[in-house]
């Protein structure tokens, strides 16, 4: 299946390679570099590149290309999914996944990669099992290892691998037993020029942080489970129980994990919490353009909108912008032509606005398209779909855990066409 893995940084250096079968020469990456050159941007590099003897499948995350080399027919998503799992694992182990961090922890990285695949076929990909096999680095352990020369390989046998609950470590112990659930909903929307909604949908996830002793068996029920249209579960969730009773019943993994992601059915109208008033105009002859945007709250259910950031990719012809925001700070990068305005909170009494002029390239004709405005925002304590957790119960253990549920609404891919 997966033959080798190459890690390539944004400047095109292969800084790590790992082979699970025979060694594949790194010259195979030349085909990748060729494709990279052809694609102007990193994200436009095709994820699958055929070469005479191999196929290169790559994902691009954290400014690193993870390039897997395969020789025979494999479902491409199998490899891509695995590569993403590798990145997630690194992130889980080291906090961030970046070139210097990987280089610093190269031993652990190799150990982890060795355990994740056996002869190219995934062996242990659950982070709970991996952590049992290879301990994540901590400062203390690094110091001890440097002095004693030992490694991060766990000295206990990884019994978790044998368990049929492979996602949970055995022998978990906590003094404070806590279970936190974050219901996070994202609004994906496209708003057209006139302010009407072209498409809007809500995608939600429930992220959990469970720190419970022993083998707890949790059930989570909703007030209005009908809202959930399409769901995908962490493998720990018992599907039949959901089918029959609409209750999430599961033995949770230890630590952070994504319990559920869902899609709110399209029949429900989506409340759009913000509006953007815009007036962007270029004139053919003049070298100055007008730019004015105002952001205001719409259907917010009485909550404040925070963390508003407006970004927009301006046309190439824009040389510079001189703008004054009524609140927050703004930046314009004349090279990438990216305008970014960090608004902060929206005060309904005094709507934030950004006004000013754009200086355009002299003589150039006016751009065809007005820039699209991308919006980010957050609303605390609100799940915009109205989803509510009814109760969380624990079976299987005797102590009383501390339970917490948090709701949040965020902008997903929220675009306003102008």
């Amino acid at each position: 299946m997966i033959h080798s893995l190459f890690l390539i940084n944004s400047s095109g250096d292969i800084f790590l390679e790992k082979h699970w079968k025979s060694v594949v020469s790194r010259s195979v990456c030349d085909y990748f570099f060729e494709a990279q050159e052809r694609a102007t941007e990193a994200e436009n590099v095709p994820p699958v590149i055929p070469t005479p003897h191999h196929y290169l499948l790559s994902v691009y995350r954290h400014k690193i290309f993870f390039v897997a080399v395969i020789q025979t027919e494999v479902p491409p998503l199998f490899v891509i999914e695995f590569l993403h799992r590798v990145v997630d694992t690194f992130q889980d182990y080291f906090g961030v996944c970046s070139e210097p961090v990987i280089k610093d922890n190269v031993v652990v990285v190799y150990e982890v990669l060795e355990e994740m695949l056996d002869n190219g076929f995934p062996l242990a990909t659950e982070s709970n099992i991996l952590k049992e096999l290879i301990k994540p680095p901590t400062i203390l352990r690094t110091v001890v290892n440097t002095i004693t020369g030992s490694t991060n390989v766990g000295d206990q046998l990884p019994t978790g691998q044998l368990s049929v609950v492979p996602w949970r470590r055995t022998g978990v112990k906590y003094t404070n037993n806590e279970a936190y659930f974050d219901v996070i909903e994202e609004i994906d929307a496209i708003i057209d020029k006139s302010g009407s909604t072209i498409t809007a949908e809500i995608q939600g996830v429930i992220d959990a942080c469970v720190k419970l002793t022993g083998m707890p068996d949790l059930t989570l029920s909703f007030m209005n489970p009908r809202l959930l249209d399409d769901v995908s579960f962490h493998p720990c969730v018992r599907f039949k129980r959901w089918e029959s009773e609409r209750i999430l019943s599961f033995i949770p993994p230890d630590g952070n994990f994504r319990l559920l992601s869902y899609h709110v059915s399209a029949q429900n109208l989506v409340a759009i919490p913000v509006y953007v008033k815009h007036n962007i105009s270029f004139r053919d002859s003049s070298s100055l353009g007008r730019f004015e945007i105002t952001v205001g709250p719409k259907q917010t259910m009485g909550k404040t909108i925070e963390g508003v950031i407006v970004t927009s990719q301006m046309p190439k012809g824009v040389l510079n912008m001189s703008l004054t925001p009524s609140q927050g700070t703004h930046t314009f990068d004349p090279v990438t032509k990216m305008l970014s305005w960090d608004v902060g909170k929206i005060n309904p009494q005094k709507l934030p606005s950004l006004k000013g002029t754009m200086s355009l390239q002299a003589g150039a004709s006016k751009p065809d398209e007005n820039p699209t405005i991308n919006l980010q925002f957050k609303i605390q304590q609100l799940a915009i779909s109205g989803l509510k957790v009814n109760r969380l119960d624990m079976y299987g253990e005797k102590y009383k855990p501390f339970k917490g549920i948090k709701y949040m609404t965020k902008a997903g891919k929220f675009q306003v066409r102008t």
Partner: protein, 1051 residues
Amino acid sequence: MSAAPAYGEDKGGSAGPGEPEYGHDPASGGIFSSDYKRHDDLKEMLDTNKDSLKLEAMKRIVAMIARGKNASDLFPAVVKNVACKNIEDPNQLIRASALRVLSSIRVPIIVPIMMLAIKEAASDMSPYVRKTAAHAIPKLYSLDSDQKDQLIEVIEKLLADKTTLVAGSVVMAFEEVCPERIDLIHKNYRKLCNLLIDVEEWGQVVIISMLTRYARTQFLSPTQNESLLEENPEKAFYGSEEDEAKGPGSEEAANTALPARKPYVMDPDHRLLLRNTKPLLQSRSAAVVMAVAQLYFHLAPKAEVGVIAKALVRLLRSHSEVQYVVLQNVATMSIKRRGMFEPYLKSFYIRSTDPTQIKILKLEVLTNLANETNIPTVLREFQTYIRSMDKDFVAATIQAIGRCATNIGRVRDTCLNGLVQLLSNRDELVVAESVVVLKKLLQVRPAQHGDVIKRLAKLTDSIQVPMARASILWLIGEYCEHVPKIAPDVLRKMAKSFTAEEDIVKLQVINLAAKLYLTNSKQTKLLTQYVLSLAKYDQNYDIRDRARFTRQLIVPSEQGGALSRHAKKLFLAPKPAPVLESSFKDRDHFQLGSLSHLLNAKATGYQELPDWPEEAPDPSVRNVEVPEWTKCSNREKRKEKEKPFYSDSEGESGPTESADSDPESESASDSKSSSESGSGESSSESDSEDQEEEKGRSSESEQSEEEGGKRKMKKRKKVTEGQGDGSSSDEGSDSSSSSSESEKTSETEEEQVEPASWRKKTPPSGKSAPVAKEISLLDLEDFTPPSVQPVSPPTIVSTSLATDLEGLTLTDSPLVPSLLSPGSGAGRQELLHRVAGEGLAVDYTFSRQPFSGDPHMVSVHIHFSNSSDTPIKGLHVGTPKLPAGISIQEFPEIESLAPGESTTAVMGINFCDSTQAATFQLCTQTRQFYVSIQPPVGELMAPVFMSENEFKKEQGKLTGMSEITEKLTLPDSCQSDHIVVQKVTTVANLGRVPCGASDEYRFAGRTLTSGSLVLLTLDARPTGAAQLTVNSEKMVIGTMLVKDVVQALTQ
């Protein structure tokens, strides 16, 4: 592993074969006479059991290597000693790691050892080791493909494995080694379908894609009689199959209804696959979702494919690489099944932040989805896209508009107008692309569009993109009669700039010249000759060629002329308008989701997706056979007397083994591996039987009163004679396929915890235990025999047969410590008499199975039977009044119980380690009855397994106050081992601990709620006097247990 290359190099580096190496060799030391023999001797030393000799041999070998001598032929022997030692380690993890290390050595010389190790590991009792064996198979195959036949044997064996851990890995090995041996799958097909949901994600992908191929060869196409199917009440067919009414019956019925054509009836196995993969659409892994989607696309009837759309659309929220692959597949699907994605049209709208490759794929999908009704919205979207800054994307949008225009007649004119407007766009790329698309569109109805052509002709002055120029020239040439004035002028201009044009433009100039010469030779004769002369000396041979050809064709010469008379027909023949097609058309002959599909080219190792067969192959090949007794030679190495055990190939394809087999019990049984290895194998398969077993058991206890032990004794005898029972196996497989319907995840999952380890110890006598109870016998008399059994009787026979068999192997072989525990505890107890209950009679039994959801609960099977003549409705548990600490898990409400029927429900009660009664209300729609369940003390515990040493250690900790001793005299009837063990285990749910002394019996268990140990020792003297000791922290439980056990033994 650093040793590996060293040996390899040695081989090449040292002297050639046969070269004598005497004298200075430290290994020979003057003792050995010949080279050949010397190595032989070292091998022998390495093969001995004595560590000292081995060490000596190793030292000599190292010395040899140090002198640069060739020791490569000793390599296998060395490896065997290094890695193989661990391969027999008592710990399964170490065994597995050793195998992994061994199989990763890529040196051909160790092939035989690897083969041996794989074979041995394939019959290891630990599923994890078996998984590692499956992983090792492709490694060995890549090292030496000559081993294929042997490896196939191993694969065959592992395919029969019933654990989820192994399934994915072995199918992967199957795909790499012998994907063509589809016949190996038959017997395991139903099992794989049933296990699927609990296999880890990576395995799921591999299994699903293999099963897709399998289904294509074994079942009939569900779409072949689509129209017929729609007329038929198809649901009835599908529904009936779940009630085990297999194909033939319903087929016949259908045949009589429609005698002319044989209607399509879906094979139940085909249905099973579809049904069992559907939940996986909810997987978090994109790869699994895609795998299921392609399975449905290739295998499901048209009406059912729709379910995958939602899941695929969900994946579009994922990383852009995932989007890329999914969109490619959606593009292919949307051509064939447009309706499926239509409701999700808006999900494919393009955002300015999408990477270009995603934009273009989305555009492809949008174009495929466009139809008469949604085209206005789609076109409006396209209008926004055309103004995008991303020019590649704009070009693709224009192409898409062109396709919409050709596909949907209604909007052709609108699109054409739009495209013409684009001709005045400032961006040349946009204009060029529009020209190319316009050219194709104009061909459809050229007469009406003379003005467009004129406008295009004007563009030749400004537009520079060669493809666009070529397109314009072709258009003018083709329709020169519509623009008679302009055409010669264009040719004039082109002749002027001919040398500077690109090749494709030049070709079109020649073309234009030729066409004009034929229609308007008066004006253009000279021009044409000029152009042809220029072309004659062009650098490109294509152009020279074309010029020569054209000249011969159009200019009448003396000798020829035959062709030139027809030149006009040749050049100006009416041409069919081009059809603008998606590049994804016909891609679906590749299996979707595969690499080959993505690349639209066959990748190495791609397995062609076969076409549906005309006639369905024999479906009975998937029926599973009788359990066979097989012997495994490897087992002899375990220093055990060879004895039969359940081989992996045992027949029934049980439902999932699934989650939760407790790691502790795993390792507990593991530590005992040496002593019970003979029976070890049965552990893995017995777990998967549980579900049937559970059913079997509940109905068993109902029937056992009537059937009694006699029948079972008979059965057992039959099996000892080694006769197979055909009917039982058939039933077994039937029930397994139907049982997949019943709850699998939530219920059985938990039940795996214990049965895995204690089911196998079920004694044959345990089943007849309830009969001995007088209460139940008495009960039987006024107990109307249940008219409808929840499980058909043959199933009971087969499962009880299986349990009997297991019991037999264990108890009849003296070397195996028999750990006994009866299938269910004390017999039926009455909860509600039928008189008091106004026709509703309720009994309960302690099933001794762990209760799902909460391991602290005692699982109680409640049997309801309705002896009244009206149905009883809405049976449920009312508000319980419970003493502190006691809690109950109610059974799901029974909606209705028809007269004469009976049913069984399971409820869990946490007695909190006390024998207090749990009192609760049993409510029907009309009445409420107060009932209470008081557990015998023996039911408050569950067996645990420990070695004798552990037992003694634990016992040592529980002395003093925690120890209760009682003297008793065993009656004559209690002299045999068998009976004593049976009596104790009937009273208390304890597991037997293996014991060295013959007159001592030890049992161990843990209380359910607090988990404190209960250890029971019975020291029986030959005289009949005996001493019973119970050690437990819970003194109350200890005391009561002693009382109960003494009573049972002395009775």
